[in-house]
């Protein structure tokens, strides 16, 4: 033992010991923890300022805007086909799904309907985007909670669906394939059989994830009962997608309010909900959704009608005057575009309702009282893409 005789040092040691006793009673002094803007758990540049009391979070305030690209302003100087290229970059893991509600809203204003074959292919690519998006979530969420293997498996099997999207559209990440009145092109030869194979691999991947991730004891103990969101709070914050279905709300826009132009009624599928509203529920619902999406794709592949993939539309797109809102069930949740047109080449105003913006605005509510390691579980399970928050 190294005793000290310096009175100043003794006083300081006594003060520290007193501080430690206060800590024992959880009467600690507050501390501010800054997460981000660069953090592996944030899929981009989200900053979260958390005030801590010991290990508990007193308040957590997300600060978005590090990636704001001003799409709502840019749409006012771009023609409709050009906007299609822009909005591909909103949710970059399932890009095709971003195009669909915008195109459907423009089609609604123009009174154009895509031919059946285009509607079928559109729905198939929409569901493939969902798989490409959510399969990465499953791996990445495992990674965030310390399970490296899930991440590698997800990247390996996501490749199958990306290859199919690339084969049909020419773009792995940003297809830019949807057009007002149909699709850019027809399917390549052999695509349907290859897609069947890819979906089979994805179904096997879902089973694997079910065992590897969902069934894992450590995973369960880090997610069960963490970040519980009751249904009424979820509705009030406008949560959508798997986040609200995990709180027991049986609502899916694909089934309940499918806009004309998508053919979800042609497949037999199920909407999954979970009663718990915790991180585990959200992950579990997403896994079921991936499996369900693969089954939808497999069913629709067998029933694609023949015919053209493009309706008769003018070469220069002018959308008649009016306002329209179309919302679809995107991988991250309900995504909608409110288009105000004045009958010109460019829209007058486009309001982009992106799912992650609402999904992440609940963080201050749900993080209050959580422990610091659970903050990662909660953020990861709410599943946001920064492009979808900042637009």
């Amino acid at each position: 033992m190294t005793a000290t005789s310096d009175p100043a040092q003794i006083t300081e040691l006594a003060a520290r010991a007193a501080d430690n006793r206060v800590n024992l009673d959880f009467e600690t002094e507050g501390m501010t923890l800054n997460m981000g803007p660069q953090h592996p758990a944030t899929h981009g540049t989200l900053r979260i300022v958390a005030r801590l009391d010991g290990e508990q979070v007193v308040s957590a305030e997300p600060i978005p805007g590090y990636m704001h690209r001003g799409y709502e302003k840019l749409t006012e100087v771009r023609s409709y086909p050009q906007i299609n290229t822009l909005i591909n970059r909103i949710d970059w893991l399932g890009s095709f799904a971003n195009e669909v509600p915008f195109i459907l809203a423009a089609e609604k204003l123009m009174g154009v309907e895509a031919p059946p074959r285009a509607q079928w292919i559109r729905t198939i690519l929409f569901e493939m985007s969902r798989i490409a998006n959510i399969s990465l979530f499953l791996g990445d969420y495992g990674l965030q909670l310390g399970g490296m293997t899930a991440g590698f498996y997800a990247f390996r099997d996501r490749e199958h669906v990306l290859n199919q999207i690339e084969a049909a559209t020419g773009g792995r990440f940003h297809p830019n394939f949807d057009r007002i009145g149909g699709l850019k092109d027809d399917l390549p030869k052999g695509w349907i059989a290859n897609s069947h194979n890819a979906m089979d691999k994805l179904l096997a991947f879902c089973d694997e994830m079910d065992d590897l991730l969902i069934g894992n004891e450590i995973f369960q103990s880090r997610t069960r009962g963490i970040g519980v969101i009751p249904a009424d709070v979820a509705l009030s914050y406008g949560l959508s997608g798997a986040n609200i279905r995990a709180s027991g709300v049986d609502w899916d826009l694909r089934r309940d309010a499918c806009p004309p132009g998508l053919v979800y009624d042609q497949a037999d599928w199920k909407v999954w909900t979970h009663p718990d509203g915790d991180c585990f529920g959200r992950t579990w619902v997403r896994l079921q959704e991936t499996r369900e999406a693969a089954l939808i794709v497999k069913q629709l592949l067998d029933t694609i009608p023949s015919g053209p993939v493009m309706a008769k539309v003018p070469r220069i797109i002018k959308v008649p005057e009016g306002e329209a809102y179309v919302e679809t069930e995107n991988p991250l949740g309900a995504m909608g575009y409110y288009i105000v047109s004045k009958g010109e080449l460019v829209p007058f105003r486009v309001k982009i309702r992106s799912a992650s913006f609402n999904n992440i605005s609940i963080v201050p509510w749900v993080a209050r009282g959580a422990y610091v390691p659970d903050l990662i579980s909660i953020l990861g399970s709410l599943y946001f893409i920064l492009g979808d928050i900042d637009r």
Partner: protein
């Protein structure tokens, strides 16, 4: 079931024609109930049958309208934003001038303000959408804001999610929401000047940088005198 005979088909065509002029009864019922709850506060409405409903209310009744709609089952908060109805004062004169062939583009003539569905009297309108999961329908609510007082009551007490949406409308349009717990900028730096989504906020990137696509219309060296056609 319907295409059994040609007679069936023709009657169906006739009913189709009637459907076009028919009003949307479900949405009309929602509008009537909302009018019953809010009284004179509903000043405009528009129904597109089978698609959507727009209701415009007075500024005083804006927070009340959210409470009334929530009580009617419209408990899912979709979004809240604003529309600046001023026609954009910027024409080609705001493009980079080297993009233009010949003389610089003349400045654009000012145009009158024309509002959209459910009418309006002012330049700025706040628009919000609520959704009913039971009914499977949404309703758009609009409110006019006078130019000299861009403020309206907050929805954030009724719908917690309105908090961020109102902060976004505040920074992008300069609209104040009275009673909002934390009305600060959301995306923009705190010292940012101006409101980017207003129509009179210039998109400077367009002016200072030539449009990259301009190289496509330059005639090929040694080619025809006339540039190629518009392209496919």
């Amino acid at each position: 079931m319907s295409q059994l005979s040609s007679a069936d088909t023709s009657t169906e065509t006739a009913t189709d024609d009637e459907v076009v002029v028919e009003v949307d009864e479900r949405r009309q019922a929602v509008l009537d109930e909302l009018t019953g709850r809010l009284g004179d506060a509903v000043v405009g409405s528009h129904i597109r049958p089978g698609d959507d409903l727009w209701v415009r209310v007075t500024r005083e009744a804006w927070p009340e309208a959210a409470v009334a709609a929530k009580a009617m089952g419209y408990s899912f908060f979709d979004y809240l934003s604003a529309i600046d109805w001023l026609p954009s004062p910027f024409g080609r004169d705001m493009d980079a001038q080297e993009d233009l062939v010949g003389e610089p583009a003349p400045a654009k003539e000012p145009q009158p303000i024309v509002q959209g569905y459910a009418g309006g009297d002012t330049r700025f309108q706040v628009i919000g959408r609520l959704y009913s999961i039971q009914a499977g329908m949404g309703v758009h609510l609009k409110v006019d804001l006078p130019d000299d007082d861009l403020s309206v009551g907050t929805w954030s007490q009724t719908f917690l999610g309105a908090n961020w949406h109102e902060r976004e409308a505040y920074e992008m349009f300069g609209i104040t929401f009275e009673g909002h717990p934390n009305l600060i900028k959301l995306y923009l730096p705190l010292d940012f000047q101006g409101h980017p989504l207003r129509k009179d906020f210039p998109l400077l990137a367009r002016r200072v940088r030539p449009w990259p696509g301009i190289v496509d219309v330059e005639p090929m060296p040694g080619g025809d005198d006339e540039p190629e056609g518009d392209g496919e």
